[in-house]
C-alpha cells in the first residue's frame, strides 16, 4: 500500500485553466504539506496543515488554495494557471510536525 499517494502523476494544461491535485496518506499522520520543486530541483514549502488546520502558508499566490477535508487528505487547487506554475508538486505527511516527512511521488504540472 502506498503511504502517501497523490494524483494525477502528470498534469498538462493550458494557461488560464483551473486544476486540482489530490493527496491522501494512510499513515495516520496529523501533519500534511505541499512542496513545489522547480526545474533546478529546489524544494520550497507552500503549505502545512496540522489536523486540518492551516499552520504554514508561505508567500504563495492566492490562486493556490489548499483544502483539507480530513486529516488524511490535503488537496491543492490552482486557479488561472500560469506558465511559471510549471513544476513538480509534492505532497508529504509526518507524525510529528516538521520531522521525518513521507513524500508522495509527485505531480508534474506542465502549463502550456
Amino acid at each position: 500500500d502506498t503511504a502517501v499517494s497523490q494524483t494525477p502523476k502528470y498534469l498538462v494544461t493550458q494557461m488560464g485553466n483551473d486544476k486540482s491535485i489530490k493527496c491522501e496518506q494512510n499513515l495516520g499522520h496529523d501533519t500534511m504539506y505541499w512542496y513545489k520543486q522547480d526545474s533546478k530541483k529546489f524544494l520550497k514549502i507552500m503549505f502545512s496543515y496540522n489536523n486540518k488546520e492551516l499552520i504554514i502558508n508561505e508567500t504563495v499566490p492566492n490562486r493556490f488554495s489548499p483544502k483539507s477535508p480530513d486529516k488524511a487528505h490535503l488537496n491543492l487547487h490552482i486557479n488561472s494557471l500560469e506558465l511559471g506554475d510549471s513544476a513538480v508538486y509534492f505532497c508529504a505527511s509526518s507524525h510529528r510536525q516538521h520531522e521525518k516527512l513521507f513524500f508522495g511521488s509527485g505531480t508534474q504540472l506542465s502549463v502550456l
Partner: protein, 110 residues
C-alpha cells in the same frame, strides 16, 4: 534563512568508495534531516539529527552535526550503484518549517 546549502552540487565516484556531502545553514536549528531523491520520485527520509546530537549512524550512513560551524555532513560508506540519487539536507528551526537545500547529485559508477 535556515535553508541548508549542500556541497558539492555534484559528485561522481566509483562503486565501493565513500561519498561525503556537506550541508551548511545560517540560523539556529532544532534538527537537521537528510533525504534521498531518485530521479522522478519523491524524497525518502534517511536520517534526522537533533541540535544536541553530534553524530548518528544508520547502516552505511553516518551523519555529523557541528552547530558551532552550522554545518552537517553525510557520509555514505562502501557506495553502491543503487546509491545514485540526489541528496538533500533539510533544516527545521525557529519557525519549525522544514526548508530544503538544493541537493547534491551523486553518481556511483559500477
Amino acid at each position: 534563512s535556515q535553508q541548508g546549502e549542500e556541497d558539492p552540487q555534484a559528485l561522481s565516484i566509483q562503486e565501493g568508495e565513500n561519498a561525503t556531502m556537506n550541508c551548511s545553514y545560517k540560523t539556529s536549528i532544532n534538527n537537521l534531516q537528510w533525504y534521498r531523491q531518485n530521479s522522478g520520485r519523491g524524497l525518502v527520509h534517511l536520517i534526522l539529527i537533533r541540535s544536541n546530537e553530534r553524530e548518528k549512524h544508520s547502516g552505511r550512513l553516518r551523519v555529523t552535526l557541528d552547530t558551532s560551524k552550522k554545518s552537517s555532513s553525510l557520509l555514505i560508506t562502501a557506495s553502491r550503484a543503487a546509491d545514485t540519487a540526489s541528496y538533500f539536507c533539510a533544516c527545521s528551526g525557529g519557525y519549525q518549517k522544514v526548508t530544503f537545500g538544493i541537493g547534491t547529485k551523486l553518481q556511483v559508477i559500477p
